[in-house]
């Protein structure tokens, strides 16, 4: 019998196949939109009970608990928004010329396979399998990053492929060391890399091996998650990829790597408490710091958004690094808040780049008059992402700062507040001048309800989450946070 888990994975995989068979440009995007919608429905239906009750779903090679359920539903939701936006975005490119059926086919096939792989990351039980799938996400999305085939995107995709492959190679070394320490406890069985098995024997794992393993894993997957100083691929890939893909990279792919790190982190915190969290704290602060410096000097809109992703990943790592129930709660909340907010900004960036034909922020003026809808959304999204109330990121950041204070880390709180103020100034100082003034060229809003819809849906979702996080959602977060930290006590 096929369970919900298989259905969730098979929908995007089937969509990729259908896109391969299709001969019509318009069919491609509709297949993807329908598949993404169906996938979101299936994911919500299968995994919402797991998320709200916390009972794990486990059979065969699959393992889904509250944590994975959260990431699964989130990824499916982001994918749906991206599928909707891709429709209008690629239609514009097609109308502007220079987009062949073959290129569009490659785009949609890769997109669907990419989504399939990302969903699998959260479903499999074996940490070895997670590694394989994370590498697969890199390989598939290289084609998406290099979609335009010009100098910039070729450079970005090569950098992406090589830097992430190197990082992930180090992570594999870490996994093999973890495996070596696991077979020392339970013998050489094929389930020795399954996460529940490892959790049950975590306390007996060899601490020396585990320390090296954790350091390698955090550096390796951290490369993919975008921790500074391994983040160098990220701004290039995000800025050169087609805009819907940038949104997917930022709001879904980074989460995959983060999720893998969390899995290892939970094992390591039982065996060698404080080791992984200190590393995460260091990488987190470094990421926020580096991001703030680059945001202050950003020229291209999408690069600035990419650095803002580095910042948020850094804040999430800090939340995990503090290691209290509250801070982990904040980190998880930030994951969702960031993934709902960042695509809004990327979609606005896509509208602006297609409308004005430039990526430079200084060349864009008069957005309020030429593109009122995009301008409004850009304002909302920008205020949300820099952490203004009443949006979701604000709630996450306040919870994070509160947890830092209550853990007695005053220096950390002060440092974070200073960096967040710098980012606020840098970000708003670049974005808001684009709204006023007068445009030199004739620019109009991209038309069509399908193009406007994902922006509105996401804006409503993240505002609602900031204003009144529903009780069941908050309970779900708390339960995951407690189960993650419960292991530490």
């Amino acid at each position: 019998m096929i369970h919900g888990i298989e259905i969730v994975v098979l929908i995007p995989a089937a969509a990729a196949l259908l896109c391969g068979l299709s001969r019509d440009e318009r069919a491609l995007s509709w297949i993807t939109i329908l598949a993404a919608g169906a996938c979101l429905a299936a994911a919500a239906w299968t995994f919402w009970p797991v998320f709200s009750t916390g009972t794990a779903l486990e059979y065969g090679m699959w393992y889904v608990d509250g944590l994975s359920a959260l990431f699964l539903i989130l990824t499916a939701a982001v994918t749906f928004a991206v599928a909707l936006y891709s429709h209008g975005y690629l239609r514009f490119e097609r109308a502007a010329g220079g987009l062949t059926l073959r290129a569009e086919k490659t785009y949609y096939i890769s997109l669907n396979l990419f989504v399939t792989a990302m969903l699998c990351v959260f479903l499999v039980s074996s940490l070895g399998m997670i590694w394989i799938i994370i590498e697969a996400t890199t390989l598939v999305s290289t084609f998406l990053v290099g979609f335009y085939r010009d100098e910039g995107s070729t450079e970005a995709s090569w950098k992406y492929l090589i830097i992430c492959s190197v990082g992930i190679t180090l992570a594999l070394l870490g996994i093999s060391l973890l495996y070596a320490s696991a077979i020392g406890v339970i013998g050489s069985v094929s389930s020795a890399l399954d996460w529940p098995v490892l959790m049950s024997v975590a306390a007996d794992l060899d601490p020396v091996l585990l320390k090296t393993a954790m350091a390698l894993v955090i550096i390796g997957f951290g490369t993919k998650a975008g921790f500074a100083p391994m983040h160098t691929w990220l701004p290039d890939a995000h800025s050169q990829a087609p805009t819907p893909v940038s949104a997917l990279l930022s709001a879904a792919l980074l989460n995959c790597a983060l999720y893998s790190i969390i899995r290892f982190y939970m094992i390591s915190e039982i065996a060698i408490p404080g080791f992984a969290s200190t590393l995460l704290l260091i990488f987190g602060i470094a990421s926020v710091f580096v991001a703030s410096m680059f945001i202050l000097n950003a020229k291209e809109l999408k690069r600035m958004l990419a650095y803002s992703s580095v910042e948020h990943i850094g804040l999430i790592a800090v939340g995990l690094g503090i290691g209290t129930t509250w801070s982990v709660f904040a980190a998880l909340f930030m994951v969702v808040a960031h993934s709902l907010t960042k695509p809004i900004l990327f979609f606005c960036a896509g509208n602006i780049i297609q409308g004005y034909g430039t990526k430079e922020m200084s060349a864009v003026r008069g957005l309020g008059k030429t593109m009122p809808y995009t301008a409004a959304m850009l304002t909302v999204g920008s205020l949300a992402i820099v952490g203004m109330p009443p949006f979701a990121v604000f709630t996450g950041e306040i919870a994070l700062l509160y947890s830092a204070v209550s853990a007695g880390m005053w220096w950390l709180t002060i440092l974070l507040v200073v960096l967040l103020i710098i980012i606020f100034a840098g970000f708003t100082g670049r974005v808001f001048p684009m709204l006023s003034g007068s445009a030199e060229a004739e620019v109009t809003e991209p038309e069509g309800p399908i193009r406007a819809a994902p922006l509105a849906i996401l804006a409503v979702a993240m505002t609602a989450m900031g204003l009144f996080a529903p009780e069941s959602v908050a309970d779900g977060f708390r339960m995951i946070a407690e189960s993650m930290i419960g292991g530490l006590a």
């Binding site: 390989l139 290289t142 995709s157 090589i162 492959s165 190197v166 070394l173 093999s176 060391l177």
Partner: protein
């Protein structure tokens, strides 16, 4: 045969791999680099065979077969084909002189031993000397990737790093669960194909596979 002989064969294979890695860092011809990679993989295959024979573990025989078929035969063949397609067998210039590279390799080998030292106590497997060598190969492979400005030699660096890694997993835990090994091999073969595609694309876009031309994206 007793344990000592197995250990000796394994150590010899590992040391040969290390020497070949150092040779690869210094060699500047594409075809020679590809040959070195094939020989590197051959030693890895022999090592896998010895480990499989010693532990009588059927799944390591599978790893041995995969290494032999993919890394000794198929991947070098594919890389040769790529080199032919983009007409580059010229000398690739290295920004660091040969003696300088050798010195850096020596330092990296020391680093490998330094990192491995505290861990060897915890390992009970037969090839415990190999962990240090494996780490050294990984470090040198990474150094090669960082120091070369040529898309193809960067990818050979990556492949050498991966071989070093396999040396590590083979000797510290007799490989990984079979399904994981299959997946890793699958990923590697796809990665090589994609690297080939992109090397071709870089060559067409920049009229060279010298990656130092790719410096457009920066802040």
């Amino acid at each position: 045969m007793d344990l000592i002989i197995y250990e000796n064969i394994i150590d010899i294979c590992a040391i040969c791999m290390l020497v070949i890695t150092v040779m690869a860092v210094m060699s500047t011809y594409m075809r020679k680099l590809i040959q070195l990679f094939a020989i590197h993989s051959l030693f890895l295959a022999v090592l896998a065979f010895v480990v499989a024979f010693y532990t009588d573990n059927s799944h390591i025989y599978i790893t041995f077969t995969l290494t032999l078929v993919l890394k000794v035969l198929l991947i070098p063949r594919f890389l040769d084909y790529t080199v032919e397609r983009i007409h580059v067998d010229k000398e690739v210039r290295s920004p660091i002189s040969t003696p300088g590279s050798l010195l850096i390799c020596t330092v990296l080998i020391f680093a490998g031993y330094l990192v491995a030292d505290p861990m060897t106590e915890s390992l009970t497997t037969l090839g415990r000397n190999c962990l240090a060598i494996s780490l050294s190969i990984v470090f040198i492979g990474l150094y090669m990737m960082a120091s070369r400005a040529n898309a193809l030699s960067e990818s050979i660096g990556l492949l050498l790093t991966e071989n070093g890694l396999f040396l590590g997993t083979m000797t510290i835990s007799y490989g990984m669960p079979l399904i994981v090994e299959f997946g890793v091999f699958f990923d590697i073969i796809i990665a090589v194909v994609i690297i080939g595609i992109f090397a071709y694309r870089i060559n067409r876009t920049f009229n060279s596979i010298d990656t130092s031309y790719m410096r457009r994206l920066r802040d």
